[in-house]
Symmetry: C2
């Protein structure tokens, strides 16, 4: 069987472009004894993938060049010779960036689509939601009545963090780029939202929107947002450092050094990788189910059609093309 897939052709030094990718077609054969054939239905593009395109080992191995990349994907079993799977089963895997694949079942997780749509297992009910949860629960230890600034509030993790923080009883001020995204942040429950592109002094705008300093900051952006956060945080403020997308394509950028606030305000900063915190998964599933049943949390995705558009969907993450989780529908 033929499957189209996306290859990385070069490690971009700065901003990646469409020229760093190409589409290829591979004959994946047919499933043998104990194997299944899966047709992917939704593919995930995530900011962390940029790190894997740098050619150096960070917390995960780099992508190989001229080979199919991997990433989150949900698909349906088309043909099964494995007793654990039957035709029509929905499965979640890391075999993304391709239309179809053959597997012996290792690393495939069957998902229950009764109450949660398949694509949401790549978003709010998957690693994206779990990431927001780990940041709020473990890194920040957010308490009811506290205030938190969520950056990239209209993004995949940010929009989950806004909803989860509200469900936890906190007051939320969000930032996002553009009026549409600001309105989206408000629509999912943020108490206030600021268009960072429309203000001169981000720190002052956030403090004003929040009615004073914040107890916590959910860091998805870095750079200018980080600098503003150190200004806006109250003493003993906490930062969950989840991502710094502004910096991924510009590693030598200069910022103003106001890091002395870390000392002066006794700030606590915790960088994290969701996979180090899978022990929180049962708590996440429990809370998420409750919050969704109560209507406090709603999925939201930006869906791009066609695997041929997957590089563009990925590149769109860095220009803010997505509201909620960015997905590709195969």
């Amino acid at each position: 069987m033929k499957s189209r897939e996306i290859h990385l052709t070069a490690y971009p030094k700065t901003e990646p472009t469409a020229a760093n990718f190409k589409m290829a077609e591979t004959d994946i054969g047919s499933p043998g004894e104990g194997e299944v054939l899966v047709a992917n239905k939704f593919l995930s593009v995530d900011p962390y993938m940029r790190g894997r395109m740098s050619g150096v080992r960070t917390y995960v191995d780099p992508f190989a060049l001229d080979a199919v990349m991997d990433g989150g994907a949900v698909g349906q079993v088309v043909e099964s010779h494995n007793p654990k799977f039957k035709e029509g089963d929905w499965v979640n895997s890391m075999h993304g960036w391709r239309e179809a694949y053959i597997s012996d079942g290792a690393g495939l997780n069957k998902i229950d689509t009764t109450h949660i749509a398949p694509e949401d297992y790549l978003g709010i009910a998957g690693l994206t939601g779990m990431t927001a949860y780990v940041g709020l629960k473990r890194c920040i230890d957010l308490q009811a009545g506290e205030s938190i600034w969520v950056s990239a509030g209209a993004g995949a993790v940010g929009s989950a963090a806004i909803q989860f923080a509200k469900a936890m009883g906190a007051k939320v001020v969000a930032t996002a780029g553009g009026q549409d995204k600001v309105e989206y942040c408000l629509s999912i429950g943020a108490d206030a939202a600021v268009d960072y592109k429309a203000v001169d002094r981000l720190d002052k705008a956030v403090a004003e929107a929040n009615g004073g300093g914040v107890n916590a900051y959910f860091e998805n952006v870095g750079g200018t947002h980080w600098t503003a956060a150190l200004e806006v945080l109250k003493p003993k403020g906490r930062i969950a450092a989840c991502g710094m997308i502004q910096r991924y394509n510009d590693p030598g950028a200069k910022i103003t050094d106001n890091l002395t606030y870390i000392v002066g305000k006794s700030l606590r900063i915790q960088g994290f990788i969701v996979s180090d915190h899978f022990d929180l998964l049962p708590a996440f599933i429990g809370d998420l189910g409750k919050w969704m049943a109560e209507g406090k949390v709603k999925p939201r995705n930006t869906i791009v059609e066609g695997i041929e558009n997957m590089p563009d969907a990925f590149l769109g993450l860095f220009s803010g093309a997505n509201t909620g989780k960015m997905l590709v529908k195969v």
Copy 2:
């Protein structure tokens, strides 16, 4: 009775100079019923005092202008009309920057000079030592067998941190400015020491001296040292952010933004103020007594003579004039 004292005359915007201080003489009267007259013997100058000279409230109130400043001091009771004190008693107080004072006894702590010299209550057995202890124990949670980089290793807190970290079973690489200070760091037990003024790439020099990345970083310097620390720390590294003296006089400085390491390496950073952690005092006293009895920890001070030289002693903190704790002998 006349007492000479040091006043702050203006809030320096950048680097303070001798012109920001003046010496005055005050008639402090004589002690009444319930009061004691104390003659200070040693006065403390500390980097945190720079923050109090900025005219804005940080975690402590700013100094008042044209009035005597305060700060750590040890002295002897000269005359007592208070049953809790007798002539000759050594006392520790915050009534520094002056030769003598009258007190009703509030805020005065009698100190036992049998095994610890009076001046060391301003250094390794006082807030300075406690600061190093809080950073290592609570912020970093340093474990035996781990490696730690201690910056400003020849300074008051740094030299305590080197000795305490060694006593805790860790491997220590220190940095300091100049060959004399490097040798001092080695003499108090550092496994390796680097003269930061003599190297081009601080990060590479530290990693080489240590034989690889470090598990923890004790931050006293900020700026270029901070940037290097993010490079040198291993994944899940921890930073105790105690001070950033390089930045106190240069708040708008630019640094290279390599903060994405916080995410990529899952770093934990904890800024702290020693006074928030006084619950650790009994543990500190217990460990310090044991370490001193075992000869693992030795005090070291730089002593400047004469209250008239106190502003210079303070300013010397920012040019690295001290090895160990900087004190003024009255």
